[in-house]
Symmetry: C2
DNA sequence: GCCTATATTGAGACATATTCTCACTTGGAG
DNA sequence: CTCCAAGTGAGAATATGTCTCAATATAGGC
């Protein structure tokens, strides 16, 4: 059974077919998705899922810190699973996004958590500039 | 004279009163602003600034890499000046944002720039979690 | 300072994204 | 199995962003 589903159930949310479809879509997704993509994919699993249900489910998942909105370069936010860190190298000109792994945020994270009394679950590190093709 | 104004002029853009109002708002802002806030503040400087002018000016500033969209927790993106790095500790629950200074992204930035042939101007590092008040 | 070509403007139409409302449905505790 | 609060989809309402166009204002040439 999906992790998301377990979390929702444990938090007292009912597991309905439309909701389950949305959960499955998000859980199986490696990258990030727009709400409209989520709607389409969810409808492929359970025909007739409504737009509102996608947004409602996203709200719950955000509250439970299972999913996080992220802005890359498009019109609206995309959503992705919360899982440690995400690292992007973004070209401000053409919008190309390169993902990278190396990240030394661990120490800083511990320090900040202690100092500001936060429980930290994930982070986002993005560098902005111009890619090879776009720098003239 | 404002830095933004100088940049626009140098790039061949005309300096008009409405545009100047928008520039002033963004230039004087320390944090981040929604387009709707920008509109209001710009209208306080020059009555009658149109919504389109705000978006048009933001587009120019984005192209010139003077300003960058950023997603915190609200509905849409906010905009902030590009200036090295921005560092936020964000509570996913209540939306509180703590800014911090310490950041060791410099080395990584140089490495990535070389490897992916990017010219990097700025970065964003955000940690997500729950603040003291929100963690139960 | 005046003139002109042209970039820029605001209004409001349009397009898109998100939220809300409400009558109907359904999961799951008892 | 029953019951009812939680959840649902449709579509209205709102929020956000883009486009068009006639009117205006800037900056450079004189």
């Amino acid at each position: 059974m999906g992790v998301f589903k377990t979390h929702l159930r444990r938090s007292g949310y009912k597991i309905t077919a439309p909701r389950e479809a949305v959960l499955a879509v998000l859980e199986n997704e490696k990258g990030h998705l727009h709400p409209s993509d989520i709607l389409l994919k969810a409808r492929a699993i359970h025909a007739g899922v409504g737009r509102a249900t996608v947004y409602r489910t996203l709200d719950i998942l955000k509250m439970l810190n299972l999913v996080r909105p992220i802005y890359i370069n498009e019109a609206g936010p995309s959503y992705m699973r919360v899982a440690g860190g995400h690292h992007h190298l973004v070209c401000s000109n053409c919008g190309k996004v390169v993902e990278f792994d190396a990240c030394n945020a661990g120490d800083l994270q511990r320090k900040l958590a202690r100092k500001h009394r936060f429980v930290i679950q994930s982070h986002l590190l993005e560098f902005y500039g111009q890619c090879e093709d776009c720098r003239n």
